[in-house]
């Protein structure tokens, strides 16, 4: 039995095709989320990669910020539920998910049996999200994917406000004017995101095993800063950005097998 999970985020669209709720058959990701062609393109990529069509899929579940507007699914479910399911699929002993997406951050805790026990979401604020990194990369005229490597060269991370993206933007410009090196600035920016998110995580309660999901999970500088702040190891899987879509596909499978 095939189920499809589609995660339409604020900046990317991800698809996961799953067999019997246990094996990932195909995945796809496109830049462009809610309000773009991203979801359809990601879906088309998935069909191109496999020999399957929509008719072969027993259930399609959509999640993410774009879930309410997407009409091609059999059902929708919140991204927190999906990140919990997807994270637990990859890490069976998972207890805490730190999801930093393009526009928000969420912390989800699970009990021993994997059931969601608590969650917190950030307020409408770009600080502590992928958008914060995006804005800072733009000021530094860097590709967001290069921040990670740049931060690794830092000797003394700069101090950057974790309160507000707009204020932090001014700070970065001031620090550039004062001659602070680019690696130190980038490391400071990553620590700023980690500082904001770790405060949120402590509100939910952090229980190992902890993992990160969402696009920012790929940034090891943020991950390591979070590990330092939370004093715990944070697991990473290359599929971290797909946890929402994996969870959606699993949700669809569970619905059919109730």
């Amino acid at each position: 039995m095939l189920t499809l999970g589609i995660d339409i985020g604020s900046t990317t669209s991800k698809c996961i095709l799953m067999e019997d709720g246990s094996r990932i058959i195909a995945k796809s990701l496109r830049i462009g989320g809610l309000g773009t062609e991203g979801p359809e393109e990601a879906l088309q990529d998935l069909w191109n990669e496999t020999s399957y069509t929509r008719d072969d899929v027993s259930r399609v579940i959509v999640t993410g910020y774009g879930r309410n507007k997407y009409e091609g699914a059999d059902g929708e479910v919140s991204e927190l539920t999906c990140h919990a399911l997807g994270g637990r699929f990859i890490f069976p002993d998972l207890r805490t998910v730190i999801d930093i997406g393009g526009q928000d951050a969420k912390i989800i805790t699970l009990n021993e049996s994997g059931r969601m026990s608590n969650f917190v979401m950030n307020d409408k604020c770009a600080a502590g999200t992928g958008r914060f990194l995006d804005v800072m990369a733009n000021i530094l005229r860097m590709d967001i994917d290069d921040l990670d490597e740049c931060a690794s060269k830092s000797e003394k991370p700069a101090s950057i406000s974790s309160t507000c993206t707009v204020f932090a933007e001014s700070e970065v410009i001031s620090q550039l004017a004062n001659g602070v090196s680019r690696p130190d600035l980038v490391a400071g920016i990553c620590e700023s995101v980690a500082s904001r998110v770790s405060a949120l995580a402590r509100r939910a309660g952090v229980v190992p095993r902890v993992c990160m999901s969402g696009g920012v999970a790929k940034n090891s500088a943020v991950r390591h800063a979070l590990e330092k702040n939370l004093e715990t190891e944070i697991s990473f899987d290359p599929m971290a950005q797909y946890f929402g879509a994996i969870g959606a596909a699993l949700y669809g499978f569970r619905q059919l097998n109730k």
Binding site: Y65, S78, L80, T81, M116, M121
Partner: protein, 371 residues
């Protein structure tokens, strides 16, 4: 028939201006009552129509001339409405001193809204000892003197009569709360209308309408069971919020909302001196974030009520920048965790247009309770 009555509640809840125009056309004088508690019985007894002034969902602009942005939007919207003429025709507004933001509302109101008299009601922090009751009574006497300047006349017999009317209203509202817990088919939006309309109708009219509604509801078979929740907060009247509760099959089996049941928990006792009775009523009130009590019985009240009504979880609807509610939240969260009662926190304010975050939050909470 139930639907006909619900329609009347909805009309009253969504058209306070029309209600005020009606009372003014009847030659009555309207006195606005700001959150959270005011001596409505006294205002009523002196010949005025008390009408709740809890602001409205709107963009705040003029109020920012007086307030910083990081201030309770309920209070800001009251001033915004006052400045923009939303309360035009009212004779006065009684603003209590129950939180720091309300204190600043009164002071700003004097300068910002000159055509509607500001009447302060200063409550004591320690309301239960005799000296606290005496302080409250002195505050009511001050309100009385201000109302006399507007043509009102104090008569102890009239106040005793008004207390009876208000106690009767409290009783029917408590009964409504109980009966609604057994009727999941009444939506969160409809429940909100029943409570909100009470602010804009005379208590005599509202009592009669609620009694009519309850009599009809009693004949109606209860609908299919939903997910029972207890809702806590200052104000939960945003239509989008209630739509979300309904969309996710949540049934409010009890509330700890300042603009709803908290208003009706305590009656004024029968005493020879009705003004003293009103002060004793305030002393007896409890389980509210703005009513000082170092033991915080409200926290356990929420847990006990949730258990007693069979709620699956508690939703705290936090009005942004509401200090008293934020202080209590930590204790509520811990108590719910200890009682193994799932809890969700959603933030709202009067300026919110998009409720997507609230939607995601409550959808996840629904999954947490059911999946």
């Amino acid at each position: 028939m139930v639907q006909d009555t619900l329609k009347k509640f909805h009309e009253a809840a969504t058209s306070p201006r029309k209600q005020m125009e009606k009372y003014l056309a009847e030659g009555k004088k309207v006195v606005l009552t700001a959150p959270v508690y005011t001596p409505e019985e006294l205002i009523h007894s002196m010949g005025f129509v008390p009408m709740g002034a809890w602001g409205a969902d709107m963009e705040l602009n003029r109020s920012k001339e007086y307030f910083p942005a990081f201030l309770c939007s309920i209070v800001q919207s009251i001033l915004e409405m006052g400045i923009k003429g939303g309360y035009k025709g009212a004779s006065a507004i009684v603003i209590p001193s129950l939180c720091d933001t309300l204190k600043t509302l009164g002071e700003n109101w004097k300068y910002a809204v000159e055509d509607i008299k500001f009447i302060p009601m200063t409550y004591p922090q320690n309301r239960k000892p005799d000296y606290g009751i005496a302080f409250t009574k002195a505050g009511y006497e001050r309100v009385m003197r201000d109302l006399e300047e507007l043509g009102g006349k104090y008569d102890p017999a009239a106040l005793s009569e008004s207390i009876k009317i208000y106690n009767k209203h409290n009783e029917v509202m408590r009964k409504a709360d109980e009966m609604l817990a057994a009727h999941p088919e009444i939506t969160a939006a409809e429940r909100s209308d029943i409570f909100k309309s009470a602010f804009f109708m005379t208590k005599e009219e509202h009592t009669a309408l609620v009694e009519e509604f309850l009599a009809e509801l009693d004949k109606q078979a209860a609908g299919a069971e939903k997910i029972g929740i207890v809702v806590s907060g200052i104000l939960t009247d945003a239509p989008q919020l209630n739509e979300i509760f309904d969309e996710f099959g949540m049934h409010i089996v009890a509330d700890d909302v300042a603009a709803q049941s908290r208003q009706y928990r305590t009656d004024a006792p029968e005493m020879d001196d009705p003004l003293q009775a009103l002060a004793v009523k305030f002393a007896n009130m409890d389980n509210c974030s703005v009513l000082y009590n170092v033991k915080k019985p409200r926290v356990q009240w929420i847990v006990d009520t949730a258990k007693a009504r069979g709620a699956k979880g508690v939703v705290v609807v936090m009005t942004k920048f509401c200090d008293p509610e934020e202080f209590d939240y930590v204790m509520i969260k811990k108590a719910c965790e200890k009682a193994d009662l799932p809890l969700a926190l959603v933030e709202v304010d009067r300026q919110m247009v998009h409720f997507e975050q609230v939607r995601t939050n409550l959808e996840t909470f629904r999954d947490m309770l059911t999946f």
